[in-house]
Amino acid sequence: MAKQYDVLDISGAPRLYSQKVEDHFFNPRNVMQGKPKKGEFNAYGEVGSPACGDVMKLWLKIENGKITSCKWKTFGCASAIAATSVLSEMVIGKTVDEAYKITAQDIIRELGGLPQRKIHCSVLGDQALRAAIENYRQTS
């Protein structure tokens, strides 16, 4: 994001999510700005639907078997946004094979945990990633 979301300090107050989830939710990393330029990415994955409450779109640039860039867009709740944001940081620098093995559990661990009923949001993240990698494997 170009500008950070200026949030009130609630240190010490009860929280809904972990501090890391909140950090990624209010200041998400690697959000896709506008539309991708031609040749900017060579893999794309999309999962979910607006009717299900979550849509995740993920673009990857893969060079010599390694992910060098990852951008995304997510329509969803706080944990869905945070899960995609943290995932985008996790995959950059990984090989395609390493990234393909990332599970929902890995994302949740990286986020410092999620409430039980929010687990499905992180599952969508790893599905979007695998969809993008499969798209890459089919087209390259």
Partner: protein
Amino acid sequence: MIYLDYASTTPTDKRVLEKMLPYFEKEFANPSALYLSARRAKQAIDDARKAVANFLHCKPDEIVFTSGGTEADNLAILGVARQAKTGHIITSQIEHPAVLNACKQLEKEGFEVTYLPPDKNGIVSANQVEKALKPNTILVSIMYANNEIGTIQPISEIADVICNFRKVISRQSLVVSSDKYNKRQTTDYKRIIFHTDACQATGYLPMDVKKLGVDLLTLNGSKIYGPKGVGALYIREGTKIKPIVFGGGQENGLRPGTENVAVIVGLAEAIKLISDSEGEREKKLRDYLIQELLKIDGVELNGDKTKRLPNNINVSIKGVEGEALVLYLDRRGIAVATGSACSSKSLEPSHVIQALGKGREVAYSSLRITLGRQTTRAELDKFIKEVKIAISKLRKISGYNG
């Protein structure tokens, strides 16, 4: 903090709190006892009952105090059904869970329930109720005003169609069975009881139970600047109903348990403080906020424009998920609500907005703003500014419009 979630609950008015305080410490006696301090506690409950009865234009004996709106709704629905033992119930798809889940429980107990769909603005018509009535219908429960989208239902019109149906059915039964049964039995059997949940309507809409034509009416303290944990059920004289809690004989045996004197006193005081002018003031603020919100691209109003509570605004915002928006506003010091699944314990988005037939995505993107006595125009202007910033941030993340 800018609090814009008054439909969820209201702060207890200081004047209400002051009336309540003596009953925690000094006037703590059990109203069922015989000595002087107990008689004073009993007197406080009697006075409160009179105040509620006065407000509803009914007799004090027709009021039963409960632990809140949920219990009053449960007592009305389960109490009537279990008294009747069998039969058909009519309600709407947009009722509060206290009504819907009580009806679902009755389905498990063998009752038949019709859930009427509202129109696209969230209104259930008297005509729909008329068509759904059957000879074995025992109960109709339709809310006075909806808690999520604020739509006001035509309660007295519904009461009229129920009343007409009662007469027709009773006459038919008399013709068929005049030799075999006496008149009174037949009439009693065909009695259809009409209940309305008026928790959200209280304080804003006319509450004369005779004019409304209802047999049972639920109201609640925590929505009207009274304390939480107190409600009341109006039970029209002669309405047959069974208790759902068993114990001592308090509240005519319909709600046993030592009376919570302080909150009952608080409920009555809150009712006494209701004024008509406040609704008029909030209505102007409501219309201003609706007008400003609809200026934002991709924003639509949920519910009816005019048949609507003076304090309710509910919109859906394309490309913005409700929980995310509520949390962005929360971190800017604003408290509002959403019908998104992610805010609910059930993981299902608002059943009310889904019932409008607009699609699940509209429910996921819904935002409810409800006004109250402390709401000012300046607060709404701040809210509008903040909501625009949050919408723009979240739309960049969701990719709305590219």
